[in-house]
């Protein structure tokens, strides 16, 4: 008896020792994130912070962006066919894909067509039992106009799903690579509904992705472990920890003290010191964004193209990039960033020419012009300091005889009032969602967006609008490219915006972080990242 007890005790002790050794050998990557996720079901939310913690770690989509690029590649769908009329998308699903599990749920089957249908019907169909769960608003799904685009979603067989559209929508495949399209488990949804806890489905996520969320302490940390059965191969790291650190200076301090390996959004003023530090590697890449000054074409005299061109010539953007972006910006000539397909490099930009601007204003019969110039109250990825930028512009405009009064509002009010067109000139910007030019050119500059929508210039040009609408309806890339290139020429000539800059994204990390790639969409993706011993 004694000896048996002893054996048991020894066995237990050994297990404990091994477990401890295992724990110490774990490769833990610590990411100092900038904020708390709003929740763990990505389709309910719109912030990048939430997507980093959910769709980019826990879930997969039918198609995804190849890491570090804007290229769409197969993920949960192995392949797809598009009908000739552009209305039917048939997806052939990947087999053998496992779902994660937690205390409340263990999957009994692999991923299949039911999961795809459930994911989209939850957002599309008000009758779906999950539609109203957790507040039930799907702003990205709505914002991308999915309820009008999608006619139906059918399961053809277990491994085939067919989407039927109401109208051709060329960016559809890119749209399905976005975060709101993260595929969830229909079986888990049913189980939670049956248990009477549908909220748990959104708070304790189960996906097919590379990392499994094991715990979230609000405002403090999120713990993940590598999902052993991940279909694309287990992650190189064993654990992933998000330490939520709101203050940028403190994120930098934590990096210096070795408390985290990677941090996003450094203070622009700290970047130089980081680059000089031999213990820190700073990666950089031009972001998929644009910072612009929109002129309200409904307010005279900005309805006159000559006045808009004069403003474009009056502003010294090189000086702005130097002073405001502190080198972390690339001068913009088109509304889309240069890394995006169909970027038209042949477009001729307006040169800084105050005399030319004055001549144009004279020609338009404009003198003693007084306008409002709106400056955002917040720092955004595409504009680190709008107030400073507005001051520089004010001085430039004064040179050509335009008196600009700088106006600012609290952020929420700024967005609301500017979308209603109360401004003469407004500073704003955009960060791309899906790498498709449509996401900039149609969303920001079409006639449909001009009526209290995101088109802050309230600019509705028939020629431009026809080009970008047509480009939505053809699926041939070469044809679309030609249409978008032409649209950029029209845009530049009509000058509804002064295109200011595309900002550069910096990612500081410790030297032992390997294979990190900057996501052009501004996300933070840790699958594929490794830590050197």
């Amino acid at each position: 008896m004694h000896s048996r007890l002893f054996t048991l005790a020894a066995g237990a002790a050994l297990t404990l020792v091994l477990a401890t050794a295992q724990a110490q050998a774990d490769k833990t990557l610590v990411y100092c994130s900038e904020g708390s996720p709003e929740g763990f079901y990505p389709a309910l939310y719109t912030s990048g912070t939430t997507f980093d913690a959910t769709s980019r770690a826990i879930y997969n989509k039918l198609v995804e962006f190849d890491r570090g690029t804007t290229q769409v590649v197969p993920a949960l769908a192995e392949s797809w066919d598009i009908s000739d009329d552009g209305l039917e998308y048939t997806f052939h699903l990947r087999s053998g894909v496992k779902f994660q599990s937690n205390d409340a749920f263990t999957p009994t089957r692999d991923f299949n067509a039911d999961d795809v249908v459930f994911t989209f019907m939850r957002q599309l169909d008000p009758e779906n039992p999950y539609h109203g769960v957790s507040g039930g608003s799907y702003e990205y799904f709505n914002g991308m106009d999915m309820p009008n685009i999608i006619k139906s979603i059918e399961k053809v067989d277990d491994m085939t799903v067919k989407f039927t559209l109401n109208q051709p929508e060329a960016p559809m495949i890119a749209d399905l690579a976005m975060d709101f399209a993260s595929i969830a488990s229909a079986e888990y949804a049913d189980a939670m509904l049956e248990a009477g806890t549908p909220d748990a489905f959104d708070q304790n996520p189960i996906g097919t992705g590379p990392f499994q969320m094991v715990r979230y302490v609000p405002d403090e940390r999120i713990d993940y472990v590598a999902f052993d059965d991940y279909w694309a191969g287990r992650a190189a790291i064993d654990r992933l920890v998000f330490l939520i650190t709101i203050d940028a200076t403190q994120r930098y301090n934590k990096l210096l003290a070795g408390e985290c390996h990677i941090m996003p959004y450094p203070n622009p003023a700290d970047v130089e010191a980081m680059m000089a530090n031999p213990d820190i590697t700073v990666m950089e890449q031009a972001g998929l964004n644009i910072g612009y000054l929109a002129m309200n074409t409904e307010h005279a005299p900005f309805d006159d193209v000559r006045v808009r061109q004069a403003v474009s010539m009056a502003i010294d953007r090189d000086a702005i990039i130097e002073a405001v972006y502190q080198g972390a910006g690339v001068k913009a000539k088109n509304p889309i960033p240069p890394t995006m397909w169909s970027y038209n490099d042949a477009v001729v930009d307006y040169e800084y020419d105050p005399e030319g601007a004055k001549a144009l204003l004279d020609e338009a019969g404009v003198s003693d012009l007084k306008v409002t110039l709106w400056a955002m109250p917040v720092q955004r990825p595409y504009n680190p300091n709008a107030a400073r930028m507005a001051e520089l512009m004010q001085a430039d405009l004064a040179e050509v005889g335009i008196t600009a009064e700088i106006v600012t509002y609290e952020w929420g009010e700024y967005l609301e009032r500017s979308s209603k067109g109360e401004h003469d000139m407004v500073l704003l910007g955009w960060t791309g969602d899906n790498g498709d030019p449509d996401n900039f050119l149609y969303v920001l500059l079409s006639c449909a967006a001009a009526n209290d929508g995101p088109n802050r210039a309230r600019w509705c040009n028939e020629e431009f609008d026809n080009l970008v609408t047509q480009a939505k309806q053809v699926s041939d890339i070469a044809e679309r490219t030609a249409l978008y290139e032409q649209a950029q020429v029209v845009f530049k000539e009509q000058a509804p915006w002064v295109t200011i800059a595309h900002s550069v994204v910096f990612m500081p990390m410790t030297n032992n972080v390997q294979n990190y790639l900057i996501d052009p969409f501004g996300g933070h993706v840790f699958y594929g990242v490794d830590l050197a011993e």
């Binding site: 833990t28 610590v30 708390s36 709003e38 929740g39 309910l44 939310y45 719109t46 912030s47 957790s134 507040g135 608003s137 702003e139 709505n142 914002g143 909220d199 959104d202 708070q203 715990r215 302490v217 609000p218 405002d219 403090e220 940390r221 713990d223 920890v241 330490l243 939520i244 650190t245 709101i246 203050d247 200076t249 403190q250 301090n253 934590k254 210096l256 003290a257 408390e259 985290c260 955004r380 509002y409 609290e410 952020w411 929420g412 009010e413 967005l415 609301e416 979308s419 704003l428 910007g429 955009w430 960060t431 209290d452 929508g453 995101p454």
Partner: protein, 339 residues
Amino acid sequence: MLKFIFRRASLVIPTFLGVTLLTFALVRLVPGDPLEMMAGERGLTPERHAELMAQYGYDRPLLEQYGLYLYELAGGDFGRSVVTKKPVLQEFFERFPATVELALCAMIFAVVIGLPMGILAAVRRGTVLDYAVMGTAVTGFSMPIFWWALLLVLFFSVNLGWTPVSGRLSAVYWVEARTGFMLIDSLLSNEKGAFGSAVSHLILPSVALGTIPLAIIARMTRSSMLEVLNEDYVRTARAKGLSPFRVVTVHALRNALIPVVTVVGLATGILLAGAILTETIFSWPGIGKWLIEAVRRRDYPTVQGGVLLVATIIMLVNLLVDLLYGVINPRIRHASERT
């Protein structure tokens, strides 16, 4: 005594109503609404905006919204956050222990250092020691917390590497949140070293947060001690030939403590409402940071519910301080009973 408690408690209900009305009105006076804040540059179409406003009931007349809010409150329902969709009460209690833990540690730091400083300064009045203590107190009192906290971090965490930069626990440990108090949870867990990590994470935030209360306590103790040291009974005690140490600690300090206790109590109440700057710098998951974020996002239910809960706690603490004051000083109790 009971009558005293009753009188004080009866004031709570009107205050409570006042707070609900004030937060309800203020958060709606601020321009922008939660739906616009969430949409950002992307924006919402006017139709979609109206649809969502209706869904949340924000399109109804304000009086009706307020009535509904009170009705739900009466049933103990604080509503759900517009942003996270979780119940406000749950979100509050997920964060409150962190705030309590930090507030208590900061207060302990302030009392343990501030009290002896004040006594020393009073006893050695007019000496270099007195000036040093009072100089330190004035500096501490006028210290911008943001700057002071970052300075502490740069020196102790980045340069010396003695303390962690921020957070509540090192990323290498996993501790189950049983009570929400990291010191207790880390002791209960079988992770070796977790408790030490929790303690080390508390040091800098406690010092940063405790600096102003420390300065107040030191000054209060000093002036109160000086007053008491001139009293007749202290002279009598000295004349009896008691040791100076005994005179100071037993006869003088006990009486000098009365105003200090009030100050400590009130300061604790304020700290329990959350320390926005300290929590932000040290990534401390408390309620101050949570409320600020809710205001920024116009999360109406969270702001209303959160402020109400904080107000309730401050009222409770003040009540407790009043009662304690009555216990220490019977004259107060009796005075209130006579009226």
